[in-house]
Symmetry: C2
């Protein structure tokens, strides 16, 4: 019979082992904290399998979540690891954007590089890099060069995000068609199926979280698959053969980002994604200039003009001159022309191969128009719709940008309206159908961007792959669509965008970057068009407010010249509002209900306010403490009239002028579905 | 065969009738709008039955809701009405509170008086009075003198509140025990059973609504019964015989109030309830003075002293002197003494008749202590616990207040710890059991208040009937309990108040008026007590913040002198903080998560900030734009230490001093379960 004493010792030893297995931070766990100490990321092995967890103020935000990969040869990079090294470093740098929503951005973070090695003959290595900011976490995988790991074909990235809380998620589905153009819905994270990122979450505990990715290059884009236990699993968009990513060492994945803030408004001013991208690689970018444009486009949605040739052809020399004249008269920088090039006749949607990117329609004299525009002090904005014909486009890419560069076209809007697994890729005689957000297309979008840069052309991409902050590295990447834009309001078979749509975008789509929403419709009942059931679900004042709320460096004024000329007083706001900002602040923020944003003109004194609401009218108390305390300002207020209402009276607006200062508290009265736009300028500038 | 033409005419006529029945505003409907035109109340008859509906920005907030009464004789005042007259008026007045959370209050409203008459021989009349403010609606019934309606016994008030939206309700149950001392819960309004008011609702559309009553006199208090169709029905607390209210014409009901605001914070600064009460009826109220107090009380909850006589008796002459000395040394105005009077021995809880309100225990020399206090510049605060023995208390009321007045006792805390249908009322030989919130007790509370006023004594009522703003009319009605206060933290069998409790109170209980929560425990682990499982679920900094967050004109510092003397640096905030304010503003507000309130000292320059959070740590960006722009201030910051945590490290606090001005933006870092308190004073005052 053993002595009781010995028995006791054995029990204690066992208890210690058990505690170590249960305890969230074992003695060995690597912990990296945000510079302010509030966010804490634990990275460790659990039975040789890497995991991470995120806490904030000691409370769990992301529970133990798996990390790693399964490769197509059946091998895995998910377990059997040991930790080889852990390097900690701190980083604090302030850098300047060439253009953007904020001039100077501080990159303040703590980094952990954890090198793992598999405990077998191959000794494959995986490096986990975590950067912890005061407002969230970014992490990526690196595959170092290794004799045992050269070519990599990823079958599955097993990254998980185990939400501590059954948060309310604001999401769009990642469906077969792979589009981003859905109305946002919200439901508990445990009820999600497959969704796109940015995925924005409001937790029961009151936090706002956004899961997304940064610096997506030569990799597949990530969707998230929800499980009932509140786990979100990364699911990469595959190649046609099911492989997710082909790469070879040394390689690295995009950053997976988890922004964590106390209020939804802070998501709008969180710059983690930009900070995780590399600095400008283009050198001198003085040729990249934010601005505003009008163009030949909205009339096609009104069905009073067509992209294709014929009587109603929009992109004629005469019609384009009309827009150039208008742009020149009212200070717009560019004139977009869609439907200028051969290929828009017949069933172009199913035959992207038919587009020429150098041959204009005969009634569009591109040389004359380029001259005419130059003399008028504006530039043409080119247009490339691929309709999924990537091979065709890539064959012409060099010539197409060369033509535009020669003609002084400084920006191009591209389109990829055919989405889903509908991208034809040829290899010799074989044809494959690739997904529009897989690695193949990520490579293509990048190739087009770099080609544009070579020709000093700015890019606005419709039906893009999602924005992951690469504009920091390639500042000619201006804006993207990537959500339901204004045109949905002109398509009654799509139901239009309900009034809450634009109160959700700032907290979801816009977290990824600028958007080419194309605001500014004044003829809200679409009386110029021939689709009587269509209408813009907005008020005129709200259309103005969108110029502040929805950031785009190249911002369109979408309506027709004659409509604007009938409302020159309201047009003044669009003429005045900048597209490049010193700073951005959020004054009110409730996802899906309302948002108020103020932005200061870059290198200037003026401030601009945009406030919008959903279908509910509201009054919002607004202290103007962002203004310089030593100045008196004039506020030019563009507001909903007292009887305005998006349904009954959308175009009723008032313009008031008043003196204000930093102590003024304005009550913004927003009509149902309405908004308010204000320009503040120092009084002595009058 | 009729002509097709005639048929058409008939159809149109029918359609017109149908439209009129469906249309929410018929031609006859009386509509009264808020002064800013945003809220609109429709009052009308539907088949001779009165109803009202409330819209805001044209959107329905309260759908068609019934109005009227059923009387105990079987007659009804719910239908068979015609409209006799409709009078509209406008009102705009600013009045001054003798003390309060805001000095000057504007009463700006539009009024509709609609006189209804029943279409029968009796021709009984009912007047509906609606007052519409920019932040909500109040309405009441008036019963004019009428030969056919003299004595009234109300069987049922049929007032309804039909919520347009299945709003999230923050509620406490109206149970058999009739207490208000429950933790708040929240659930959709369609799932409510029977709840107390104030009932706070957050709608899907983003509005915050609070339903309550104002000016409750000689009437039963109102509870609300929820139906699955989102209708809340008024249910009055009855007399023991089931009759709800006995009255005779002319009479009027309390006001039913519906506050409707865009953000939860605006509920805190909505003064509808005060505006619906009559002005001060007490004349010169210079004897009413807000202040702070300490006292013989907390030690009874710690179980180191007793209310009753014996070795541990708390209210001894010596112990009271200790508190008087402490109060005098540190600038407190009053010293509360509970357990001073004969009656606390034996089973007092079930025998409220045994209390004497004039005879002190022999070891409590009330005359000597009154002298001692006076010489030390403080006053005693008396205490009257009735334990439901209302007859006994009312018999002694005059003598009790007379004694206190003679001794210089300037405030009395009363208690009615026995609640529910447990109030003994005798009529001759018969005994009845009355409800603690029915008309009988409403009359008693008022009688006690007016008796106190006659003797120039301020009243703090525990286990009160709810606050309905009568402090405007009787300004000696200082504060009430009427929710779970600090003492629940000392009772481990009650589980304590979880950290979110005080983040819910400002938006629920506090909407009704000041609360005697009794904050300020520094010994949060209750190490002075003998109940090792008890603890305060707070941090020390949060306890300080409660002095700003939870308004009370007579505010207690609840802990023991020796505890405070060990933390004189933190005590300084309690010594400094006023209890009477020039103005109140809400900087952050999320019900159940966090709240930040700033208040300006009445007739002074200083501002005080209190910010608290629930169990989740947070950082809150806080612009100080409320400060005078032309001054520099010193901020004395009492904050959670970086490693503070309500569970693990509650007493870790830091005190910082820094210069700030109106342009400063502070980041408040609140520990889990923590808070922050700041005094701002002009720099030249140093």
């Amino acid at each position: 019979m053993r002595s009781p004493r010995l028995l006791t010792i054995c029990c204690l030893a066992f208890a210690a082992v058990a505690a170590s297995a249960l305890c969230p931070i074992s003695a060995r766990a690597e912990v990296v904290r945000s510079p302010d100490g509030i966010i804490e990321v634990e990275v460790d092995l659990d039975n040789s399998a890497p995991f991470y967890a995120v806490r904030r103020f000691g409370g769990e935000v992301i529970g133990r979540s798996r990390l790693g990969f399964v490769l197509t040869d059946g091998s895995q990079l998910t377990t059997n690891f040991k930790i080889v090294s852990a390097e900690h470093s701190a980083h604090d740098e302030t850098w300047t954007q060439p253009w953007g929503e904020k001039k100077n951005i501080r990159d303040l973070h703590h980094e952990l590089r954890l090198t793992l090695e598999q405990q077998d003959d191959q000794a494959r290595r995986l490096v986990l890099v975590f950067r912890v900011f005061n407002d969230g976490v970014g992490f990526r995988y690196e595959f170092p060069e290794r004799a045992s790991l050269d070519e990599i074909a990823i079958a599955d990235e097993v990254t998980e995000f185990v939400l501590a809380d059954d948060a309310d998620a604001w999401w769009i589905p990642a469906m077969e068609d792979n589009r981003y153009e859905y109305l946002y819905r919200h439901s508990p994270v445990s009820q999600l199926h497959k969704v796109h990122t940015p995925l924005t979450l409001e937790t029961d505990s009151g936090l706002t979280i956004c899961i997304h990715e940064a610096a997506l290059y030569d990799y597949a884009s990530m969707t998230l698959v929800g499980k009932v236990d509140r786990t979100l699993e990364a699911e990469l968009v595959p190649w046609s053969d099911g492989v997710k990513v082909h790469t070879h060492t040394p390689a690295q994945t995009p950053w997976r980002t988890i922004q964590i803030v106390d209020t939804p408004g802070e998501l709008i001013t969180s710059y983690i994604s930009l900070n995780l991208n590399e600095p400008n690689k283009l050198g001198d970018v003085s040729w990249i200039k934010p601005g505003k444009y009008v163009g030949v486009w909205w009339e096609m949605h009104l069905n009073t003009a067509t992209w294709g040739s014929g009587d109603k052809h929009g992109a004629t020399t005469a019609n384009t001159k009309r827009f150039i004249d208008f742009a020149s008269r009212y200070g717009f920088d560019g004139v977009l022309v869609e439907g200028w090039n051969v290929g828009w006749d017949g069933n172009w949607y199913d035959n992207g191969e038919q587009f020429s990117f150098t041959q204009p329609y005969p009634d569009f004299d591109i040389e004359e128009l380029s001259d005419y525009a130059r003399k008028k002090g504006v530039y043409l904005i080119g247009h490339h719709e691929t309709a999924g014909g990537i091979d065709n486009y890539e064959r012409q890419l060099e010539d197409a940008y060369d033509l535009y560069e020669r003609l002084g076209v400084r920006a191009v809007k591209s389109g990829y309206v055919v989405q889903g697994q509908n991208i034809r890729r040829r290899e010799g005689n074989k044809e494959f159908r690739e997904w529009s957000h897989g690695q193949y297309m990520v490579r293509h979008y990048q190739h087009a961007l770099e080609t544009a840069a070579k020709h000093h052309i700015m890019l606005v991409v419709h039906e893009p792959v999602k924005d992951t902050g690469i504009r920091r590295t390639y500042p000619n990447m201006m804006s993207r669509e990537g959500a339901r834009g204004q045109e949905y309001n002109a398509w009654d078979w799509q139901g239009g965008n309900p009034p809450d749509h634009t109160t959700i975008l700032p907290f979801t789509r816009m977290v990824s970057g600028p958007m080419d929403y194309t605001p500014g419709v004044f003829d809200l009942l679409l009386e110029k068009g021939d689709r009587p059931n269509n209408r813009i679900n907005s008020t005129l004042a709200k259309e103005l407010a969108l110029y502040v709320v929805i950031y785009a460096p190249l911002q369109m004024a979408v309506d027709m010249p004659e409509v604007y000329e009938a409302h020159l007083d309201a047009l003044k706001f669009i003429r005045d509002v900048p597209t490049d900002w010193e700073d951005t602040r959020v004054l009110h923020a409730k996802i899906g209900d309302y948002v108020t944003i103020v932005r200061q003109e870059r290198d200037g004194e003026d401030w601009y306010l945009g406030s919008i609401t959903d279908e509910v009218g509201r009054t919002l108390e607004t202290p103007l403490n962002f203004l310089d305390r030593d100045r008196v300002y004039v506020a030019e207020i563009y507001r909903d009239a007292d009887d305005a209402d998006w349904k009954k009276n959308p175009t009723a607006y008032e313009i008031d002028k008043m003196e204000v200062d930093a102590n003024t508290v304005l009550t913004l009265r927003l009509a149902p579905g309405g908004g308010q736009a204000i320009r503040f300028y120092p009084k002595n500038q009058e």
